[in-house]
C-alpha cells in the first residue's frame, strides 16, 4: 500500500487519451493569448494589423521595445512610478498590518471581535464608494498628483487584506515557542520580531506579493488621482497612450504590455509555491 495521496490520485474519471486531450485544450486556452502578446510585440506595425495574422513574426524586430525608451512617452518613468508606488504600498501595508495581525491572533482585548469584523468589512467595501471622498481628502491634504497620495489610495485595499492574510499565517504558528521566549524575558515586540516573523517569512512574502500585484493592477486610482502624465503608473499610461501613440501601433502596444506584465510574472512565479500555501491558509482557514 502506498501513501494515501498516491492511491487516491489513482482514481480516474476519464480515459487517459481523453484526459490528455482535455489538458492540451486547457493549456492552449491559458497560454495562447500570452503567446499572441509576445509574438505581436516582435512584429512590425504593418504585420501586426495584417488581415491574415501571421502565427510567427515574419521579420522579427525588437524595434517595438527600443522605441518604448526613445519615443515621446517616458515608459521608463512609468515603469519606475509603478514599481515605487507598489513597493511602497506593500512595505507600508505589511509594516502596519503585521503587529495588528499578531494582536488579533494572540491578543486578548475587548474590541478584538469588532476590530476583526471591521477590517473584514473594510476589505469588502466597493472602491467606488470611496472614490469621490478620497479624492477630496487628498485634494485638501495637497496629495493629489503625488506618489504619497497614490500609496494612500492603494492602502485602502492593501492594508485590510494584509491584516487578514497575515493573521491566518500567524494563527498557524504554535504558541509554545513564544511562551519559551517570554520566559526568557523577551518583550512582545521582541517576540514578534525575533520569534514569530522568521517563522512566517514565506507568508509575509506571499502577502506582500499579493498587495503588490493588486496595486500594480489598479487603474482607477492613478487615473483619477494623478494629473501629470510623467507621474503616471504603467497601466494608466497604457490607457492614456492608447488614444494617442498606440492607436494603430499594436506591436508597440504589445511591447508595452510585455513590459507591464514582466514584473508581475517574476513576482508571481518567485513566490508561487507559498502562494499556494498562503491562499489555502487565507481562504480556507475560515471555512
Amino acid at each position: 500500500m502506498t501513501d494515501p495521496m498516491r492511491s487516491r490520485r489513482r482514481s480516474r474519471w476519464l480515459p487517459r487519451a481523453g484526459q490528455t486531450a482535455a489538458i492540451v485544450v486547457a493549456l492552449f486556452w491559458s497560454l495562447a493569448p500570452v503567446y499572441w502578446m509576445l509574438a505581436t510585440s516582435f512584429k512590425t506595425e504593418l504585420e501586426a494589423t495584417r488581415l491574415e495574422p501571421t502565427l510567427w513574426p515574419l521579420h522579427p524586430t525588437v524595434a517595438n521595445y527600443t522605441e518604448l525608451a526613445g519615443k515621446s512617452l517616458p515608459f521608463l518613468a512609468f515603469f519606475l512610478n509603478s514599481v515605487v508606488s507598489c513597493l511602497l504600498t506593500a512595505v507600508i501595508a505589511l509594516a502596519i498590518a503585521t503587529p495588528a495581525a499578531y494582536a488579533l491572533s494572540r491578543g486578548r482585548f475587548l474590541l478584538r471581535g469588532p476590530v476583526s469584523y471591521g477590517i473584514l468589512i473594510f476589505r469588502m467595501l466597493p472602491l467606488v464608494v470611496m472614490l469621490a471622498p478620497l479624492y477630496l481628502l487628498l485634494m485638501t491634504a495637497h496629495l493629489l498628483d503625488s506618489t504619497a497620495g497614490l500609496v494612500v489610495g492603494f492602502t485602502t485595499f492593501g492594508l485590510p487584506f494584509a491584516v487578514w492574510m497575515m493573521k491566518s499565517f500567524i494563527d498557524a504558528v504554535p504558541t509554545e515557542i513564544e511562551e519559551a521566549a517570554r520566559i526568557d524575558g523577551c518583550g512582545r515586540l521582541q517576540i514578534l520580531l525575533k520569534v514569530v516573523l522568521p517563522l512566517v517569512l514565506p507568508g509575509l512574502l506571499t502577502t506582500a506579493t499579493f498587495v503588490f500585484m493588486e496595486a500594480w493592477n489598479n487603474l482607477i486610482y492613478p487615473l483619477t488621482f494623478m494629473t501629470s502624465l510623467s507621474k503616471q503608473t504603467l497601466p494608466a499610461a497604457l490607457v492614456l497612450s492608447f488614444t494617442g501613440q498606440f492607436k494603430t501601433d499594436w506591436g508597440g502596444m504589445m511591447a508595452a504590455s510585455v513590459l507591464t506584465t514582466l514584473p508581475l510574472m517574476v513576482a508571481f512565479f518567485a513566490v508561487q509555491r507559498s502562494i499556494v500555501r498562503g491562499l489555502v491558509a487565507g481562504a480556507l482557514a475560515g471555512a
Binding site: S11, A103, V115, I119, F268, L284
Partner: protein, 295 residues
C-alpha cells in the same frame, strides 16, 4: 508562570499593536465612508462655483428614475455573477482533470495554467481588444478560416456582444484562482472517504457529485465570495476594453460612478450611488458569511 493572556477581568479595550491599523483605516476608509454619506445628501459639483448645499434625499429620488443606474446595476450583476459562476465551473473541471497528476507533471501543468493570473488587468484588456479586432484580429481570422462565421464580427462594438466579450477576458484571468484553490481543497479530501466510496463501487460522476463536491463546498463559497468582491470593483478591464460602451451596454456601476464623478464632477449623485452599492454589497456579504458561519 506568566501567561500570554491576562485574566479576563482585566482585559484592556484595545491592543496597542492594532492602533496603527485602526488609525490608518479610520482615516483612509472610515472618514471617506462617512463623508460619502454626507456628500450623497448634497448638491455638490466640483466645477460649480456655488457651495455645496443640502438637498436631503433628492439624489436618491433621482436614482430611482435614472435608467442608466438600473441598466448598470443589471450589467454589474451579469458581469459579476456570470463570470464568477463560469470561472468556478471551469476551475473545478481543471482541478478534477489534473487531480491524478503528480510530481513534476502536476507542477508543470499547474504553473502553465496559472499563467493568466500573472497578467495585469489592463494588459488583459488590451490583449483581448487586439484579438477581438474586426480586421486583423486573430479571433475573427480563426473563426473565418474555420468557416464558423461568414463575416468578421465586431465583438466589442456590438451592444449585444460587448458584455459577453468582456466577460470572456475576465473569465480568462479568473480561472487560475479557482483552479488553484479547488485543487488544494480536492487534495484535502480525506483519502479514506474516497477509498470507502470506491469500495462501494461509486461511479465517476456520483463520486464527484456526492463525495467530492460536498467537501469542496466551503472552498467554492469562500473563493466565489472573494472573486465577487473583486469583480464588483473591476474597473480596469472594462474601462480599457470598452470604456463602458457601445452606448451603455458594458457600463457597470464602477464605470458609471467614475463617469459621474470624474467626467461630470457630480460628486453628490455619484456618492448616492456609492451608498446604495455599499448597502447592497454588505447585505450580500452578510448573507454569505452567515451561511458559512465564519467565526
Amino acid at each position: 508562570m506568566p501567561s500570554l493572556s491576562p485574566r479576563p477581568g482585566r482585559m484592556p479595550w484595545l491592543d496597542p499593536f492594532v492602533l496603527p491599523t485602526v488609525a490608518v483605516l479610520g482615516v483612509v476608509i472610515g472618514y471617506p465612508v462617512v463623508y460619502t454619506l454626507v456628500l450623497s445628501a448634497q448638491k455638490f459639483n466640483l466645477l460649480d462655483t456655488s457651495p455645496a448645499r443640502f438637498i436631503g434625499g433628492a439624489n436618491y429620488m433621482h436614482l430611482t428614475v435614472d435608467p442608466i443606474f438600473w441598466s448598470s446595476l443589471v450589467n454589474t450583476a451579469i458581469y459579476t455573477f456570470g463570470s464568477v459562476a463560469i470561472s468556478a465551473a471551469i476551475g473545478l473541471a481543471l482541478a478534477l482533470l489534473t487531480e491524478n497528476l503528480f510530481g513534476w507533471r502536476f507542477r508543470a501543468v499547474r504553473a502553465l495554467l496559472l499563467m493568466p493570473w500573472a497578467v495585469p488587468f489592463v494588459v488583459v484588456a488590451f490583449l483581448f481588444r487586439y484579438m477581438y479586432l474586426q480586421d486583423g484580429g486573430v479571433i475573427n481570422a480563426v473563426l473565418l478560416r474555420l468557416g464558423l462565421i461568414a463575416h468578421p464580427v465586431l465583438w466589442l462594438n456590438n451592444a449585444t456582444l460587448a458584455l459577453p466579450a468582456t466577460m470572456v477576458a475576465n473569465i480568462w484571468t479568473m480561472v487560475p484562482f479557482f483552479f488553484l484553490l479547488l485543487s488544494a481543497a480536492l487534495a484535502a479530501v480525506p483519502g479514506e472517504v474516497i477509498e470507502a466510496a470506491s469500495i462501494d463501487r461509486a461511479g465517476t460522476f456520483s463520486m464527484i457529485i456526492y463525495i467530492k463536491l460536498p467537501f469542496l463546498k466551503n472552498a467554492l463559497l469562500v473563493s466565489s465570495l472573494l472573486m465577487v468582491i473583486s469583480n464588483v470593483n473591476d474597473f480596469a478591464k472594462i474601462w480599457a476594453m470598452t470604456e463602458g460602451g457601445p452606448g451603455y451596454s458594458t457600463t457597470t456601476l464602477v464605470v458609471y460612478v467614475y463617469r459621474l464623478a470624474f467626467e461630470d464632477f457630480n460628486f453628490g449623485y455619484a456618492s448616492a450611488i456609492g451608498v446604495v452599492w455599499l448597502v447592497l454589497l454588505l447585505g450580500f456579504a452578510w448573507l454569505y458569511l452567515r451561511r458559512l458561519r465564519i467565526p
